[in-house]
C-alpha cells in the first residue's frame, strides 16, 4: 500500500508484528521527504520496581516471573543469583549450580528455537517481500512441515527441562536463595537423555540453515541494519562464553576491550542509563564513553563477539567459522544475530547433554547460606542478552529498592539504529510499501526483542500503520493482523 502525505510527516507503525508484546515505529521525514529520524517506541511498563518493594526477599525469585511471560526463567535465575548473595550463599553446591544451569540451558534452547523456527524462518525461507499472509509459521508448516515440527519439538523439550528443574512451567520455584529446592531424579534424567541426540541433530540443522543463509546473502546483509557498535556480555574468567555466570566484558567495534572481568556487583561503575522524553524505555550506555558513544549491543551477536572461545566442541567449531567467514570479530551485521543465535542453540544442546550425564544432578546437598548482606546484584545472560537485577533488602527482610535493566533495554539504541538504517535505505518520499514495513520488522526481529511487559488479551494483536503529521494529527491509518485485515 502506498500512502502519500504532505511533508513534514510522521509514519507510525504500531505494533510491530511477530515481535513480543507491543511496539510502535515512527519514521520522521524532513521537508524533502527524506528520513530525518526513526524511533522504536516500546511500551515498557515500569511499575515493577515499585510493586516489589516491601515484599520479603525470598519471594522475589518467584514474583519476578510475573514481569514477563516470555522469559520468566531468566528473571527467576537473575533474582535468585542476587538473593544468593543476600543470604551469603553465592557459592552454590555443585548440585544447585548444575540444576540451575540445566534450567537456564533449557530456557535458552526453547527460546532460541522458537524465535528461529517460528519468527525468523518465514523471512529466510520465503524472502522479505513474500506475502505476509503466507510469510508466517503456518506458511512454513505447509511448505516445510518437518522444519515447523522440529521447532515445536525443540521448544517443547526446553520447556520440559524447565518444568523438571523449576518445578512447574509458570511460577517455577526451583531456584531459591542459596540454592535449589530439588534435584533431577534418574527417571526424569533418562527421559531427557533418550531424546537429546535428536535435539542435537535438529539443532545442527537449524544452525546450517542460519549459516547458509547468512553466507549466501552476506553482501546484501552487510548493507542491512549494519553499523559499528560496542558489545557487552558476561564472560568466564578464562574468556570463554558463559551464559549463566561470569564477569562483565565490553569491547568496541574493532574488538578492543573497554573493560574486562568486572565483577557485576560493581556494574554501576561501568553502566549508566539515560532517559529520553519520547520513550518509556531507558537507554543504557558505557559510562566511560558517555551516552552518545557508549551504547552497546547485547545478546547472541555480542556474546559471540566478546568471547574468546566456546567450551563445547561443535559450537566452538561453528564460532570459528562464523568469525572467519564474516571477516573477523567483532561482527557488526545485525542479521548475523540469527547465525550467532543458532550457534548458541547448539551450544545449549551440547551443555544439556553434558549436564544430563553428570551425577551431581542427583545430589542432595541443595542449599548453602553464609553472612547476610543488604544489597546484591544478580546478572545472567538471558536469551536476548544481559539481564541485570539489583536489590536492597532491609533488616526485616523486605525489599526496599529494586533496579532492573532487561535485555531488550540494553539493545534499545541498537534497535533504533537498525530501524533508522533500514528506513534510510528503503523509504523514499512518502511511499510506505509493504516491503519497507516487512524490512523494519525483519531488522527489529534480529534482536529478538521481548516487549511483553505490556499485557495482552484477546482482541489486541494487530499491526496498525498510522500517518501522523508533525503537529500530531492522524493523516492515515492501516491495520493488519489478527487473522484478518482491518482498516
Amino acid at each position: 500500500m502506498a500512502i502519500a502525505v504532505p511533508s513534514p510527516q510522521k509514519i507510525v507503525i504500531e505494533p510491530v508484528t511477530r515481535i513480543e508484546g507491543h511496539g510502535k515505529v515512527t519514521i520522521l521525514l524532513d521537508h524533502e521527504k527524506k528520513v530525518k529520524q526513526a524511533r522504536l517506541h516500546i511500551v515498557e511498563f515500569r511499575g515493577f520496581e515499585r510493586f516489589i518493594q516491601g515484599r520479603p526477599f525470598w519471594e522475589v525469585p518467584v514474583l519476578v516471573q510475573r514481569l514477563c511471560g516470555i522469559c520468566p526463567v531468566s528473571h527467576h535465575l537473575a533474582a535468585a543469583k542476587a538473593m544468593d548473595r543476600i543470604v551469603g550463599g553465592e557459592n552454590l553446591t555443585p548440585t544447585a549450580e548444575k540444576m540451575r544451569r540445566l534450567m537456564h540451558y533449557g530456557q535458552m534452547l526453547q527460546s532460541h528455537a522458537l524465535h528461529f523456527f517460528h519468527l525468523v524462518s518465514p523471512d529466510l525461507l520465503f524472502g522479505f517481500d513474500a506475502d505476509p499472509t503466507t510469510r508466517n509459521i503456518i506458511g512454513v508448516a505447509k511448505r516445510f512441515p518437518d522444519l515447523a515440527v522440529q521447532g515445536v519439538m525443540l521448544r517443547k523439550y526446553g520447556q520440559e527441562i524447565i518444568k523438571a528443574t523449576a518445578g512447574k512451567k509458570i511460577h517455577g520455584t526451583g531456584a531459591i536463595p542459596g540454592g535449589v529446592n530439588k534435584n533431577l531424579p534418574i527417571a526424569e534424567r533418562d527421559g531427557f537423555l533418550k531424546d537429546i541426540e535428536q535435539i542435537l541433530t535438529w539443532s545442527r540443522g537449524a544452525l546450517k540453515i542460519a549459516r547458509d543463509y547468512t553466507v549466501e546473502h552476506a553482501k546484501d546483509l552487510a548493507g542491512f541494519g549494519t553499523f559499528d557498535s560496542n558489545h557487552v556480555s558476561l564472560i568466564r574468567a578464562d574468556g570463554a562464553m558463559d551464559l549463566y555466570h561470569g564477569n562483565l566484558r565490553a569491547i568496541d567495534a574493532r574488538g578492543s576491550k573497554i573493560f574486562d572481568q568486572v565483577d557485576y556487583q560493581r556494574y554501576l561503575e561501568c553502566i549508566a542509563e539515560e532517559v529520553r522524553p519520547w520513550s518509556y524505555m531507558k537507554f543504557p550506555f558505557i559510562k566511560s564513553l558517555g551516552p552518545e558513544q557508549g551504547w552497546y549491543r547485547v545478546g547472541p551477536l555480542a556474546r559471540l563477539n566478546t568471547c574468546d572461545v566456546i567450551d563445547t566442541p561443535e559450537a566452538e567449531a561453528a564460532r570459528q567459522e562464523f568469525v572467519k567467514l564474516l571477516g573477523g570479530a567483532p561482527v557488526n551485521v545485525s542479521m548475523a544475530y540469527h547465525w550467532a543465535r543458532m550457534i548458541e542453540l547448539l551450544h545449549s544442546a551440547e551443555k544439556i547433554r553434558t549436564l544430563l550425564n553428570d551425577p551431581d544432578l542427583q545430589g542432595t546437598d541443595l542449599v548453602v547460606k553464609g553472612t547476610r548482606r543488604e544489597e546484591a546484584v544478580g546478572l545472567i545472560e538471558a536469551p536476548r542478552g544481559t539481564l541485570f537485577h539489583h536489590y536492597r533488602v532491609n533488616e526485616d527482610d523486605q525489599v526496599v529498592r529494586c533496579n532492573l535493566i532487561v535485555s531488550t533495554t540494553n539493545n534499545n539504541t541498537p534497535m533504533n539504529r537498525a530501524v533508522e538504517d533500514v528506513a534510510r535505505a528503503y523509504l523514499s518520499g512518502a511511499e510506505v510499501t509493504e516491503g519497507l514495513l516487512n524490512r523494519i520488522e525483519v531488522a527489529i526481529r534480529a534482536y529478538d526483542p521481548c516487549l511483553s511487559c505490556a499485557t495482552h488479551a484477546l482482541g489486541q494483536m494487530a499491526l496498525i500503520v498510522e500517518v501522523v503529521d508533525c503537529g500530531g494529527q492522524l493523516l492515515d491509518r492501516k491495520a493488519r493482523g489478527g487473522g484478518t485485515d482491518a482498516e
Binding site: H118, S452, M461
Partner: protein
C-alpha cells in the same frame, strides 16, 4: 483415541485482570471434571499445539479487553494470522498449527472473560472481573461436563444458561 478435552487458561496473574484466564483454569481444575485436562500459562505458545493435538477439544480461556460483558463464547476456526508473535500466538493460529502440523481434527472454543484493569502490577482481579469470572464458571461447568458446545454457541453473552444467570 485422543483425550477428551484440554482446558487452557492464559494470561499474567501479576497484571490484575490479565490473570482471568489462569484464575478460570485454577477454578476448573479444582472441580475435577472427568475427561478434562487443565493447563495454565502466561500465553499460548506453539508447543501448546502439540498438546492440543492430543485432545478432541481444546477450550481457551483469556481475559477480554473490550468484549461483551460478562464474557463471550465462540468457536475457534483454524486460521493463519499475520498478527501473532510466535512466542505468543492466537487461538486461531494455534488451531491451524494443530491441524497443519499435527494432522489433528481437534475442535477449538474460546471464552473471553471481560476484564477492566490491566495497566498495573497486582495479583488481584478487579471486583467486576471477579463477577464476570463467576458468571463464566457457571456457564462453563455444565458445558465442559456435558461437552454441550453446540448448545453453548447458541447462547449470546447476554443469553446465559439459567445456572449462569442465577447469581447469589
Amino acid at each position: 483415541m485422543p483425550n477428551r478435552m484440554l482446558f487452557i487458561g492464559y494470561g499474567n496473574p501479576g497484571r490484575l485482570d490479565d490473570g482471568l484466564g489462569p484464575a478460570c483454569a485454577a477454578a476448573i481444575e479444582q472441580m475435577h471434571i472427568p475427561g478434562v485436562t487443565v493447563d495454565a500459562d502466561y500465553q499460548l505458545t506453539v508447543e501448546t499445539a502439540a498438546t492440543a493435538a492430543q485432545h478432541q477439544v481444546v477450550v481457551f480461556a483469556d481475559a477480554s479487553v473490550a468484549g461483551p460483558e460478562p464474557f463471550f463464547f465462540r468457536a475457534v476456526e483454524p486460521a493463519a494470522s499475520t498478527g501473532f508473535s510466535t512466542h505468543v500466538i492466537e487461538p486461531e493460529a494455534l488451531m491451524a498449527m494443530t491441524r497443519d502440523l499435527f494432522r489433528a481434527e481437534t475442535k477449538g472454543y474460546a471464552i473471553g472473560i471481560r476484564g477492566y484493569e490491566f495497566n498495573a502490577f497486582g495479583e488481584t482481579l478487579s471486583a467486576k472481573a471477579q463477577e464476570n469470572l463467576a458468571a463464566a464458571l457457571r456457564f462453563l461447568v455444565p458445558v465442559l461436563r456435558d461437552s454441550s458446545f453446540n448448545v453453548a454457541l447458541t447462547k449470546g453473552a447476554g443469553e446465559l444458561p439459567a445456572e449462569a444467570r442465577n447469581r447469589s
